[in-house]
Amino acid sequence: MATTTTTAPTTETTSIRAPRASRPGNLRKHIALIAFAVLMVYPLVWMVVSSFKPGNLVLSQPGLIPSEVTLENYRNGWGALGEPFSLFFANSLFLTVGSIVGNLFSCSLAAYALARLDFRGRRIYFGITLASVMLPMHVLVVPQYIFFSQLDLLNTYFPLLIPKFLATDAFFIFLMVQFIRTIPRELDQAAAIDGAGPFRTFWFVILPLMKPALVTTTIFTFIWTWNDFFTPLIYLTSVEVYTVPVALNTMVNAETQSGVGALFAMSLLSLAPILVFFAVAQKYLIRGIATTGLK
């Protein structure tokens, strides 16, 4: 695009912002940016290509164009741990969906009360929510583990799901409170005049308007739960309940015969849902990070 055509709304500022980078300068900038982008993405591409190479060529032939293409890594990796990977994917999916439901339910309830209802101790509650966002989970994890093991809940998903239904991802409460603040109070008042109490106001007025915040919560809960490693590693020790990351970890340590190729193949499959989510929900993701500082 030539400088002269970048007119429209920004005309004034662009023309005043005198000697804007000239075209050759811009071209050089683009070349540098593209080169950098290629450098960053190259390892991922290498991983994709390697996963289709016959096992013995993965490391001996590092180039991007394989001399032979095969699906053997996917076949070998799929069954490498005795149980098929489809089981681990199903486990991960169950846990992820459960966590999303839990966070949406518990955090939106708490956020509505903290943002809209007037009651004693509200400021203190809000302060506690903020403080608990900063608390490293390591100071909680040992007693939690003891607690759940005494309830005989190791190797179940309860230790991973119960906290989600009890609004312990305080960060999302904070996100939703901030969002509810932007919804005009007149809507609540109108609902009150029509005779709606707090519950109906929440369900029929606030919740439908909170959709963007709920979408952001869904996306980040999905990514975090799907990638989570520490908590499942502690609680899930028998192979039938493994999530995908724990299964991959076992595969690394087992140094299975199927080797690097199979490891790459299964790793890639584990990333696929995140990539799909990224492609579909990119707009929400970027906006979510920009406005809240999420990772």
Partner: protein, 321 residues
């Protein structure tokens, strides 16, 4: 592991609770009704606060002063765990590894994030595409899959060494060498500069154009504008990212665990603090010692964050003076 330490909102949005509707409505039936309703809404949160947060927090404080292996009841040992920490070479190794990691990888990552945000901010064509590509690693970086990729990239026959060989440089076994193993994890952290970059981009967009116009009228060049407008106006965002990434880096776990097969080697050179805590608590079942380590981590993170806030007075500019 970066997941659970979600940050609070950036300085962009205030963090005080929203104003109550109307002070005069207090003590009226309506107010009392709202109070009851609020506590119904807060039932899950209150349960979670007590059962998942407060009680475990106090329990781990108690356990920090005991010897406990899950089988026998805990026995009170006073400060024994902390004395043992002082004499435990692996504890100090893990603290030192983590400190090095935080001090090197956080500033490097933020430098990349800020640099690219500034380059991309100048109304560049294809911004959305660049932003997505640079952000992608942040999305994947915390996963086990990427750690597996890293293991192979920096392995003896890995892609990095093949690349170096093309340039006629002989690579080394990055992961087997205690003096280079940690730097592969630093590279991995820098690779995920995309998320702070997006926060920087949002911050850059909030700087009023009038400031630049006024500076141009006064004859300031681009470099001068950058130093006198962009940097000061961006300091709250830099501060926010710094606090956040520091807290996150202190708690890194997954990548070191995968790269070293859970051992933190070679020679404890990738033994992150949380990895050692995990070994003590969930491999050796020294629950007392692990709790003591967790509280030491909490105190250190608290102190470091407090120092960040104290120092911020001298360099963060909030636009009112």
């Amino acid at each position: 592991m970066s997941a659970p330490t979600a940050p609070p909102s950036p300085a962009l949005s205030g963090s005080s609770p929203p104003e109550p509707a109307n002070r005069t409505t207090r003590r009226t039936p309506k107010w009392r009704r709202q109070g009851r309703a609020a506590h119904v809404f807060l039932i899950p949160w209150l349960l979670g606060l007590v059962l998942i947060t407060a009680v475990p927090l106090l329990a781990s404080l108690y356990l920090a002063f005991t010897d406990y292996n899950l089988l026998d009841p805990p026995t009170w040992t006073g400060l024994e765990n902390f004395r043992r920490m002082g004499e435990d070479p692996r504890f100090w190794a893990s603290a030192w590894v983590t400190l090095k990691y935080v001090l090197v990888s956080v500033p490097l990552q933020l430098a990349f994030a800020l640099g690219l945000a500034i380059v991309l901010d100048r109304g560049i064509k294809g911004l959305a595409l660049y932003r997505s590509v640079y952000y992608l690693p942040s999305l994947l970086g915390a996963s086990v899959a990427i750690a597996i990729l890293w293991r192979q990239l920096f392995g003896h026959d890995g892609l990095i060494n093949s690349g170096l060989a093309l340039l006629g440089i002989e690579g080394e076994s990055w992961l087997q060498n205690p003096s280079t193993a940690l730097s592969t994890l630093v590279v991995l952290n820098v690779w995920t500069f995309g998320s702070p970059m997006i926060i920087f981009l949002a911050g850059l967009r909030q700087i009023p154009e009038e400031l630049y116009e006024a500076a141009r009228v006064d004859g300031a060049g681009r470099w001068r504008q950058f130093l006198s407008i962009t940097v000061p106006m961006l300091t709250p965002i830099i501060f926010f990212n710094l606090v956040l990434q520091t807290i996150g880096a202190f708690q890194s776990f997954t990548q070191a665990h995968i790269i070293s097969g859970g051992r933190g080697g070679p020679l404890d050179s990738t033994l992150f603090y949380t990895l050692y805590l995990y070994q003590q608590g969930f491999v050796s079942f020294n629950m007392g010692y692990a709790s003591a380590m967790a509280w030491a981590l909490l105190v250190v993170i608290g102190i470091v964050t407090a120092i960040h806030f104290l120092l911020s007075k001298y360099w963060v500019f909030y636009g009112d003076n």
